[in-house]
């Protein structure tokens, strides 16, 4: 059996799993096409995130555990791009906020400049501290009244700066840009240090991004969430009220509710597939290009690559920004799919480490592997819960219905998914460290 055939069969198997989810309600399958499409849509998004991480880890060996932060920035981009502007918010506090942020940036820049330009010594340290303190005071003096003014406007519904009111599809590339900007800042400081340090720095920056989203109400409404984001596809209710669509659904043998929900989800699936295929094609081209070979050369032997005149730090920064931008695009797509931004729900286990499981299981260094891993692991992430419920029911079938142990196990079966993901990761690392579809 050739490799191509084997890998195609793997993709077919995962596709079959998703199809079975819609076709049959045997065992842990639910028999609902809606559920099947939900898994497919999130699988598509997961595959894109895995592609981004694979770019960083598989191509360049960069260990980024801040994926959650870039995903959340993508979500923020949707709010800032596509929501309608809040009347009066911009004039109330916009200039103040911009001035404050510019002052903040100037403070940091002048501190960095002082560090670079002045000779080492007590004077320099005192000057840097003075710059930082004065800058911080000015920043707060400009910032606090402005955000208060913004948050006072219609706080029950808005209270934030609002967006630009652009089409929501534009927010996807915007998400990528925002994530790329953040990645550039992080990369500038943390790349070039040891790999563990990059990991810890990205872990930290992700937490900080989430903290900002949760607390800066003027920006993202914080934990009050932004709901009702514009959608690139029609609303189900509108379809159900449109006789043309109702007739069409009826001719397919579907009732209007089912038909409209499936139609909307398929619409999302089509949009996401376009993005995934485009990114996958670009990643494949990049991998085959001289640039991709250079990246792998750097990954495999940094010293040799440097000796050949490659600027390792610059290339690392480049690929770090690119990979993070892809995660930002996926994050914006996810927020669009949810129709809301809920900063409280971002959890590193789900948004960072699960993506890592996808990349490792799929096969690091291979784009198709990451895509496969994205679909497979997402399916398992959803399905491990009913699977373990079944397993526990089976194992404890000898026990009494009201047995304490049985009740406890059934109640906590949901937490088996983390355990299972860890187990899968360890098993793959141990017995097949190159993943399902290894790098060529």
């Amino acid at each position: 059996m050739t490799d191509t055939l084997k890998h195609s069969l793997m993709f077919a198997a995962v596709a079959l799993l998703i199809l079975l989810e819609g076709l049959t309600d045997w065992s842990f399958f639910s028999g609902s096409w809606n559920s099947s499409l939900v898994i497919l849509n999130m699988g598509l998004i997961s595959a894109i995130m895995a592609l981004g991480v694979n770019l960083q880890w598989g191509f360049a060996g960069l260990f980024n555990v801040g994926i959650m932060g870039f995903t959340a920035l993508g979500g923020l981009a949707v709010v800032l791009t596509s929501t309608p502007p809040v009347p009066g918010a911009w004039s109330a506090g916009g200039p103040g906020v911009v001035m404050a942020l510019v002052m903040g940036a100037l403070t940091v820049i002048s501190a960095v400049a002082a560090t670079r330009l002045l000779p080492k010594g007590g004077l320099r340290a005192a000057l840097i501290v003075a710059i930082l303190i004065v800058g911080f005071v000015i920043y707060r003096a400009l910032f606090d009244p402005s955000i208060e003014a913004i948050e006072d406007i219609n706080p029950a519904l808005a209270g934030n700066i609002g967006g630009l009111g652009w089409p929501v599809l534009l927010s996807w590339p915007m998400g990528g840009l925002l994530a790329a900007g953040a990645a550039w800042l992080i990369g500038k400081t943390a790349l070039g240090l040891r790999s563990d340090y990059l990991a810890i720095a990205t872990l930290g920056i992700a937490e900080i991004i989430i903290a900002i989203l949760k607390n800066e109400d003027w920006l993202s409404r914080g934990v009050k969430n932004v709901v009702g984001l514009p959608r690139p596809v029609p609303y189900e209710v509108d379809l159900q009220n449109d006789p043309a669509y109702v007739d069409w659904f009826a001719s397919l043998g579907l009732d209007p509710v089912l038909g409209s929900t499936l139609y909307v989800k398929l619409g999302y699936a089509a949009l996401f597939s376009v993005v995934l295929i485009a990114l996958l094609w670009m990643a494949q081209m990049a991998l085959k290009s001289p640039w991709g070979r250079m990246m792998r050369a750097i990954r495999d032997n940094e010293v040799a690559a440097r000796a050949m005149g490659k600027n390792v730090t610059k290339r690392h920064l480049q690929i770090f920004v690119l990979g993070s931008a892809i995660c930002g695009i996926a994050g914006a797509m996810m927020t669009t799919l949810d129709g809301q931004l809920t900063p409280g729900t971002y959890n590193p286990l789900r948004f960072t480490f699960l993506i890592w499981v996808m990349v490792i299981v799929g096969g690091s260094g291979n784009n198709f592997g990451s895509v496969l891993g994205g679909f497979l692991i997402w399916f398992l992430w959803i399905k491990v819960e009913p699977m373990s419920l079944e397993l526990i029911t089976l194992l404890t079938s000898g026990l009494d219905e009201t047995n304490m142990l049985r009740e406890h196990l059934l109640e906590n079966a949901a937490h088996m998914r983390l355990f299972t993901m860890g187990l899968i990761l360890l098993l793959v690392l141990r017995f097949s460290p190159r993943g399902l579809i290894p790098e060529k």
């Binding site: 060996g61 260990f63 911080f136 606090d144 400081t189 943390a190 240090l193 040891r194 790999s195 563990d196 340090y197 990991a199 810890i200 720095a201 872990l203 930290g204 920056i205 937490e207 900080i208 903290a211 949760k214 607390n215 959890n347 590193p348 286990l349 480490f353 890592w356 499981v357 490792i360 109640e411 906590n412 937490h415 088996m416 998914r417 983390l418 355990f419 299972t420 993901m421 860890g422 187990l423 990761l425 360890l426 690392l429 141990r430 460290p433």
Partner: protein, 336 residues
Amino acid sequence: MDFLNALVALTNFVMIPAVAYGSQLALGALGVTLIYSILRFSNFAHGDTMAFGTMMTILFTWLLQSWGISFGPLPTALLALPFGILATMALVLVTDRTVYRFYRAQKAKPVVFVMVSLGVMFMMNGLVRFIIGPGDQRFTDGERFIIKARAFKEMTGLREGLAIKTTQGITVVTAIVVVALLFWFLNRTRTGKSMRAYSDNEDLALLSGINPERVVMYTWLIVAALATVAGVLYGLDKSFKPFTYFQLLLPIFASAIVGGLGSPQGAIAGGFIIAFSEVTITYAWKKVLRYLMPDNLDPDGLVQLLSTDYKFAVSFAILIIVLLFKPTGLFKGKSV
């Protein structure tokens, strides 16, 4: 008088909580730093090892309580602690045998170890949630305070009260005892010396007949004890929630790196640096300043530099500053 009031307020709201939190971080960072210097990787599962140890201690505490055993004015959890430590030791030894040893034999790269520790982290996290659930658990009993705020006010006649929680007292005392024991072990015993030798120069240590598997085993045992103690102290002081323990990973790593990865003294210093900066930067200084400033200069706002939710940002900023200016940390750790 105003100066004394300010001092008491400062002690009550900044110094005491920071010392307690710093001790907890220091114990956590010691575990990370020991793994780093002996096994040479950053253990991402450390927060969840702490969670596991704390969970076992809570379970034993409940068992003891159901038998009607208590520790007088001290929390019952202290009696259960040794059992929790033993259970955690068993867990990490099993993990080492089944997971890490294979990669050690292969001489895998550190980043592979980190990846593997991610898997272990997932499994431990799932295990803890599966056994005790994801919710909040409070397991403090006994006396709540050593000094109550009201009693202090009556005693001194000051306007500000000073309260010391029993858990804070226990934290500091336990941390001192544990650290003293650890340093005695590392500096005075044969095993401790062989551990330091192994950490300094692996090849030379092997040449002089030190058994690496034994060194690794002792390291895991010590780390299990440290993690459990740190976790239980944190849980007694605040509360136990699996996710919070996972999030402790960041300040703990920051402490270890700021102090210098691989240096036990550094881990302790780092823990206190991180804790004090987190508390002072997120504390609303209005109360203290009100006593110190002349009346007409009373601050209007809370004089809080950053909201408490940004405490991660503080550890992170310190981490970045240290990495940029002194990548090996304050106490010259390893820079492998």
